[in-house]
C-alpha cells in the first residue's frame, strides 16, 4: 500500500527517549481528587450525587447532559466532597467535584457488567456501553466517541483509522499503550469497526516507534473478523492530525469545512480504543488514563496511570519530583506544540491530558512578535497549505473578512507556523482570535436576521 506524504509539516527534536520504553507505573492513592465536571467537548454532565455520598471506583457521579455530552464517573472509592472551583487545564476557573478517600477500600463499581461476547452483542448495546463508559477522544480534543461512531446514514464509512502517530514531541503515552497493550487497543478498534459495520482497519504509527509497530503487527494476527493493516508513517509533525493522517493512509483529501466522514473515514485515537476495550470487556468506565510525565527537570520521567482528578502537584511529587538544580520555566498539559501552559499546581488531570511536560527555563522562548519578514517559511510548512503570512497580517489589522476569505477557519492550530517563524510571530494566537471574532460576527448576524 502506498503511503502518501502530506505537504508541509516539519520534524522538531522529539525528545521521546526521556520517557519511551519505561515500565508504566501507577500513582499511590491520594487523599483528595478534584474531578472537573466538563471534561468533554459539548455540554457538561449534570451532577447526580450529593455531598457525603459514598461512591466506589467507577460509580456514576454525573449523568450526561443535553446534546453533545458524556457521563462522568468517580476515579476512586470514597466520599463525595464539596463542589469547588479549580483552575482548569485550558485556563480559567472551572467547576469540579471533590472525592475524598479517607477510609474506604478501593473497589470497582459493578453496575456496568462486562460484555465478554461482544461479537454477538447488538450494536446498539455496544454503543450505549461506550456512552455509559464516558469515553471521549483521548488525543487532546475530548470529543465524545459515541458521536464519532454514529455517522448519519447518508454518509458511507468504509475505513476505520486508529491514530497511533503520536507526532507531538516528548509524548510517549500512546507508544506505551501500543507496546504493552496492543491486543486491547486492537480489540477496542474491532469493537468500533463492528459498530460501524465495516472490516477495514488501518493503524497509522510513526516510524520512530518500531517496538510499537512490531507489537501491534503481532497482535493483529490474533483478531478474527477484521482486516487490520499496520502502516509505518514518516516522522513528521503533524502526522497525527486527523486530515493529515487520512491523507497519509488513504490518499483521500478532506476539504475545508468537510468532516472525515465525508470521505468515508473515522479516526479514533489508540488511547480511546483502549478505553473502549476496558469499558466493554471489563465494565470499567473511563476513570484513569496513561499520561506521560516528562521533561528535563523531572527526576523520573515516564508513563503513569493517573486517575482523573489527581492534582498536578501530587502527580509531580510521585513522579520523583523536580531536580534540585533545575529551574522549571513552564509546565504544559499536552505536548509542546499544542499543549496549554499551566499557572497553578492545583490543576487536575482530566480525560484528555496526554502528557505533563516540564521545560527548563533555558528551553522556554519568550514571545516577542516582531514584524513579518515575508520569508514564506510558514507558508511552506503549513500542513493545511494556508497563506499564513497574509492571514497573520490580516488578523493583526483586524481584517477578519480577508481572513475568512483565505480560510482561517481551516487552521488546525498545530503551531508549525509559529515555531518555524524567524520573527517569532504569534500566528496561532492571531488565528484563534480571528476564529472567535468570526464566530461572534456570524452569531450577531444571525440574531439580526431574527
Amino acid at each position: 500500500m502506498k503511503i502518501y506524504n502530506f505537504k508541509g509539516g516539519f520534524h522538531p527534536a522529539d525528545h521521546k527517549e526521556l520517557s519511551a520504553g519505561k515500565k508504566e507505573r501507577e500513582l499511590p492513592l491520594l487523599p483528595k481528587y478534584t474531578v472537573i465536571l466538563r471534561q468533554n467537548v459539548g455540554s457538561a454532565p449534570e451532577l447526580c450525587v450529593k455531598k457525603g455520598d459514598i461512591v466506589k471506583k467507577g460509580t456514576l457521579i454525573a449523568k450526561e447532559g443535553a446534546g453533545l455530552s458524556v457521563p462522568l464517573h468517580s476515579p476512586v472509592s470514597g466520599r463525595v466532597g464539596d463542589t469547588v472551583l479549580v483552575p482548569g487545564p485550558n485556563a480559567g476557573m472551572v467547576e469540579a467535584v471533590e472525592i475524598l478517600t479517607d477510609r474506604e477500600e478501593q473497589v470497582w463499581d459493578t453496575s456496568l457488567p462486562p460484555i465478554p461476547d461482544w461479537r454477538d452483542t447488538p450494536v446498539k448495546i455496544l454503543k450505549q456501553r461506550i456512552l455509559d463508559g464516558g469515553v471521549t477522544g483521548m488525543g487532546g480534543a475530548a470529543f465524545p466517541t459515541h458521536i464519532k461512531l454514529s455517522p448519519p446514514p447518508e454518509k458511507i464509512v468504509d475505513t476505520l483509522i486508529l491514530n497511533g502517530a503520536e507526532c507531538e514531541p516528548y509524548l510517549t503515552s500512546d507508544d506505551t499503550l501500543m507496546r504493552n497493550h496492543a491486543r486491547a487497543v486492537l480489540v477496542g478498534g474491532a469493537i468500533c469497526a463492528k459498530i460501524l459495520g465495516i472490516t477495514e482497519i488501518y493503524v497509522g504509527i510513526e516510524e520512530n516507534k518500531p517496538e510499537a509497530i512490531q507489537s501491534v503487527e503481532q497482535a493483529s494476527w490474533g483478531i478474527p473478523g477484521v482486516n487490520i493493516t499496520v502502516k509505518a508513517l514518516p516522522v513528521k509533525y503533524p502526522q497525527g492530525g486527523e486530515k493529515q493522517l487520512i491523507y497519509a493512509l488513504t490518499g483521500r483529501k478532506v476539504i475545508v469545512g468537510a468532516l472525515p466522514m465525508d470521505v468515508g473515514c473515522v479516526v479514533i485515537n489508540v488511547g480511546s480504543c483502549y478505553a473502549i476495550w476496558d469499558a466493554v470487556l471489563n465494565g470499567h468506565p473511563l476513570v484513569e488514563r496513561i499520561t506521560t510525565v516528562t521533561g528535563t527537570p523531572v527526576v523520573d520521567p515516564g508513563n503513569y496511570w493517573i486517575p482523573i482528578g489527581a492534582p498536578l502537584s501530587a502527580v509531580l511529587e510521585n513522579a520523583g519530583g523536580v531536580k534540585a538544580d533545575s529551574r522549571t520555566g513552564k509546565i504544559i498539559f499536552g505536548g509542546p506544540m499544542m499543549g496549554f501552559a499551566q499557572y497553578s499546581l492545583d490543576v487536575p488531570v482530566s480525560k484528555n491530558t496526554s502528557g505533563i511536560l516540564l521545560l527548563e527555563e533555558s528551553e522556554v522562548a519568550q514571545f516577542t512578535g516582531g514584524p513579518c519578514l515575508s520569508c514564506g517559511r510558514c507558508v511552506e510548512h503549513c500542513p493545511m497549505q494556508l497563506p499564513v503570512s497574509t492571514l497573520s497580517k490580516a488578523c493583526k489589522n483586524e481584517r477578519y473578512d480577508i481572513a475568512l476569505q483565505k480560510h482561517v477557519l481551516a487552521c488546525l492550530e498545530c503551531g508549525v507556523c509559529s515555531s518555524v517563524c524567524p520573527a517569532r510571530r504569534p500566528n496561532v494566537q492571531h488565528f484563534r482570535k480571528a476564529k472567535t471574532e468570526l464566530k461572534e460576527l456570524s452569531w450577531k448576524e444571525k440574531n439580526k436576521q431574527k
Binding site: 514571545f367 494566537q429 492571531h430 482570535k433 476564529k435
Partner: protein, 292 residues
C-alpha cells in the same frame, strides 16, 4: 521669414487646442445640464456640524451617512451620541425642526483592580490585546471578571477618552461621549453607560463569592452592605455585589458617611486629580485645531 512661419504655427496650435477645449467644455456643460444628480447642500452642512469621528454609535456608516439619514429619512439628531447641544440646535435650524435634548451618557469601567490591587496569578506571554487574551485565558489577572488591562478599548476609542493607568482602563468622563464602542468591545463586559452627571460608582464587577474575590483582588466589593444600610434607596444589593441605582444623587458627604471599607465605592472625580483633568481637556482642543 522662418520666424514668421514658426509664429503662425504656434498660433495655429493654440487656436486648435482652444477650439477643442471650447467644444469639450460645451459637451460637459450639456451633460451636467441633463445628467446632474441633485445634491442637498444641507447634508454637507450637517456633516460639518457632526463630530466627524465616524464612531458608528448612531448605527449608520459614519457621520456623512448619518447626515444623509437626518435629511432624507428623518432620523433624529439625538441618535448621535457625540453631538453637543449647540450643534444639535444649529442642525435643527437648518432643517427647521426642533430636537429634544438628549440625556448625555458616559462609559464607566466597573473595576478598580489595577496592577497594585489585583493579584496576578499567571504570567501572560502573548498578544497584547484583551480580546486575544480572552480567547486564551484572559491574561494574568486572577479575577475572571476584572479588567484585562491590555487596552483594546483605549485603542479603539474614537475620542481618546480611555486611558490605561497601571493596568486598568479608566474613562475620562469629560472626553467620553457615550458612543458605546468600548461597551461592545470589552471581552469581560464590564464597561457600562451611565448618566453623565453620575458622581460615584462601585468599581467592581465580580459576581464571585467574597472569599474567592478577596483572594484575587484587594479592591473587590466584599458585599458588607454598609452602603445599603445607610442609603437603602440608592443601592441595590445582589449577592456579593452591590450596585449604585441612582449614581447622580450620591454626594461626597454621603460617601464619607458610608466609608466603604475596601474603598471600592468612590467618587468619579477621585480618579482625576485637578492637574490631570486640565491636561487632558487641553489635548483634544489642540487636536481639533490640527484637523482644521
Amino acid at each position: 521669414m522662418v520666424a514668421a512661419l514658426i509664429a503662425a504655427e504656434l498660433l495655429m496650435t493654440g487656436l486648435i487646442i482652444g477650439i477643442i477645449g471650447l467644444f469639450l467644455g460645451c459637451v460637459i456643460g450639456i451633460v451636467v445640464l441633463f445628467f446632474s444628480v441633485k445634491s442637498d447642500d444641507r447634508i454637507e452642512r450637517i456633516t460639518e456640524l457632526l463630530p466627524g469621528a465616524n464612531c458608528g454609535g448612531c448605527g449608520y456608516a459614519g457621520c456623512g451617512d448619518f447626515a444623509r439619514a437626518i435629511v432624507e429619512d428623518g432620523a433624529d439628531v439625538t441618535g448621535c451620541v457625540a453631538c453637543n447641544e449647540a450643534s444639535a440646535k444649529e442642525i435643527g435650524e437648518i432643517l427647521g425642526k426642533e430636537f429634544a435634548a438628549r440625556e448625555k451618557k458616559v462609559a464607566v469601567v466597573y473595576c478598580s483592580g489595577d496592577r497594585d490591587r489585583a493579584i496576578h496569578c499567571a504570567e501572560y506571554n502573548g498578544l497584547s490585546d484583551c480580546r486575544a487574551a480572552a480567547a486564551y485565558a484572559g491574561g494574568g489577572k486572577g479575577c475572571r471578571y476584572g479588567c484585562v488591562g491590555m487596552g483594546t478599548c483605549a485603542r479603539n476609542c474614537p475620542f481618546g477618552a480611555i486611558e490605561i493607568r497601571n493596568g486598568l482602563a479608566i474613562v475620562h468622563p469629560d472626553l467620553c461621549v457615550g458612543c458605546g464602542k468600548c461597551v461592545e468591545l470589552c471581552p469581560r463586559k464590564l464597561i457600562h453607560l451611565v448618566p453623565a452627571d453620575s458622581k460615584a460608582h462601585i468599581y467592581c464587577n465580580s459576581l464571585e463569592k467574597t472569599v474567592v474575590k478577596r483572594k484575587v483582588c484587594k479592591a473587590g466589593c466584599i458585599g458588607c452592605k454598609k452602603c445599603v444600610k445607610a442609603f437603602p434607596d440608592l443601592f441595590n444589593a445582589a449577592g456579593g455585589l452591590v450596585r449604585v441605582v441612582e449614581p447622580e444623587k450620591l454626594t461626597g458627604e454621603d460617601l464619607e458617611k458610608i466609608a466603604c471599607p475596601v474603598h471600592v465605592l468612590h467618587l468619579v472625580e477621585e480618579d482625576f486629580p485637578a492637574w490631570q483633568k486640565r491636561e487632558k481637556t487641553q489635548e483634544p482642543e489642540a487636536e481639533k485645531e490640527k484637523n482644521i
